[in-house]
Point group: C2
Chain length 332, copies 2
Amino acid sequence: MREFELIDQIRRRFERPDGVVVGIGDDAAVLEAGRYDLVTTDTMVEGVHFRRDWSSAAQIGWKALAVSLSDIAAMGGEPGAFFLNLTVAPGQDSFVDGVLGGLAEICEAYSVEGATVSVAGGDVSATDGAAVLTTTLLGRSPADGPILRGGAQAGDRVVVLGPTGLAQAGVDLLAGRLEVDPQDFGELLEAHRRPRPLVEAGRLVGANGLASALIDTSDGFGQDLGHILEQSGVGARVEVDRLPRHPQLDALCHQTESDPLEYMLAGGEDLQLCMTVPAAKLERLREVGAQAGFEVFDVGQIHADLEGVRFVGPGGDPVELDVLGYQHFAVR
Amino acid sequence: MREFELIDQIRRRFERPDGVVVGIGDDAAVLEAGRYDLVTTDTMVEGVHFRRDWSSAAQIGWKALAVSLSDIAAMGGEPGAFFLNLTVAPGQDSFVDGVLGGLAEICEAYSVEGATVSVAGGDVSATDGAAVLTTTLLGRSPADGPILRGGAQAGDRVVVLGPTGLAQAGVDLLAGRLEVDPQDFGELLEAHRRPRPLVEAGRLVGANGLASALIDTSDGFGQDLGHILEQSGVGARVEVDRLPRHPQLDALCHQTESDPLEYMLAGGEDLQLCMTVPAAKLERLREVGAQAGFEVFDVGQIHADLEGVRFVGPGGDPVELDVLGYQHFAVR
């Protein structure tokens, strides 16, 4: 498919998003004045972030936008228009078609009345190497401003909305590093292949001003909580027994005689949300979660006199875990 | 260099641009409300758009942003914050350093008081394949709105601000397709390696409302004028003898016994500006150009009863030129 044919196909397949006056087809897109104030961009590289023998083209397309949607959620914002840079070797029309299908699917899944998630522009290029997908997503902050990483205060609770470490376990399964049948662990595979960003939860946390700091766990729970602490100039104590567990991760680690905590604390690529919540707002967060269908796990507390994260067991003893030495596996 | 070190280096090297409240270092960048309404994104792929044995790393970095700056100029807008997605094989620190140096250079060249051109965010990734650079640049429309491709009217003059076809000639020289010494044609090489987008000219055309349609010539003058005509529902007659000439392109074609018109009409990759101008505004455009240091070449006219571009010679006869059959060379 030639460049202009592909651009035409994208234009036909994706409606112009809300808040965009001129979409595909001019030198630049034109946005409604004052509509968007958040911008995030993510690149996925074949062989590094995905493999075609591990994920379908549609899953790859889905995931390319999922990681950006999660970033807007992690500002407490609402997503909208995005730009797609598609760099693929010539002649791979069915791969491109699958990627666009996955993108169309995630756009539909996350569009709401008045805030469609859709393509406003981009660039398509040939390569003779690995496929590279970049999505640049615009979003809108809540009325009281976005929730940054630097707002955690002593006494705030550390909250996570669900289990972490799943995507990294999925990668290890797909890579054949574990002597089990990967098909028994579908939700771990899905966490790598087709992760579900917590867009509505992030938006509700933002709109209701329920968190003092917010981040997604794409670098791993421990490291991402560390980003909050560093930018806020505080420390945290996290009780590992209060962390949410995933039955498939527990089963996997039981069978492979490994420690689920390593995945839960250091495994990257998850699109969970981690936040710090003023103690007085915790109950309201639980109510909002109950209505919207997300759980709230209160796993620790912010302390002014600590530096970094201290992981402690049931009796308050430090957990013996070489998390710093844990290396992220790349997909390859 | 590891991911976080590289991000730190980028943060130290590029000041936070005007109009950006939160730059590098959170889940998304936060923009001043109402500041930017234009977005353009461009991807450059090693082996397709550039080669390291043809261009220095600094030239590659310069060019990556130059093409996006030209797109904002082609809306009549003013550029500002941009996002950088850098996908490079591990261990290529000196290449990355050179690219960042070229980017810093072009940022300085095009920043003005109150509208710095600089990095507001991005993503850095490893690859085992070709390097891929994506820039996503934000800009601000003139007060009366951007100048689109679809506004040309019958009677408007067709204007170009300088000679076209230079970059394509530069590529042919670097590829060794022409039996001459490339060093005699420095400005043609420069047009490929380190093109200069007409940012100030575009901004002035926009701010003074001097064009009814505007585009840059990155696909080649004939094709890009064709985009204006198609979107405006009109045709044009262009007198090829009025097109601006470049002495090095003329000399090259003289030596190689080829027709400069092929380059001038069909050669891509130039960052010239092409526009349609209401006849009554042509004199004002010339005055603005004389003050700002750009020339105005009036090369033809828009006609309601034509379709596409008709290129004509001195007596009004159609020029015999197989432009439609002319194939863009890729760098490889």
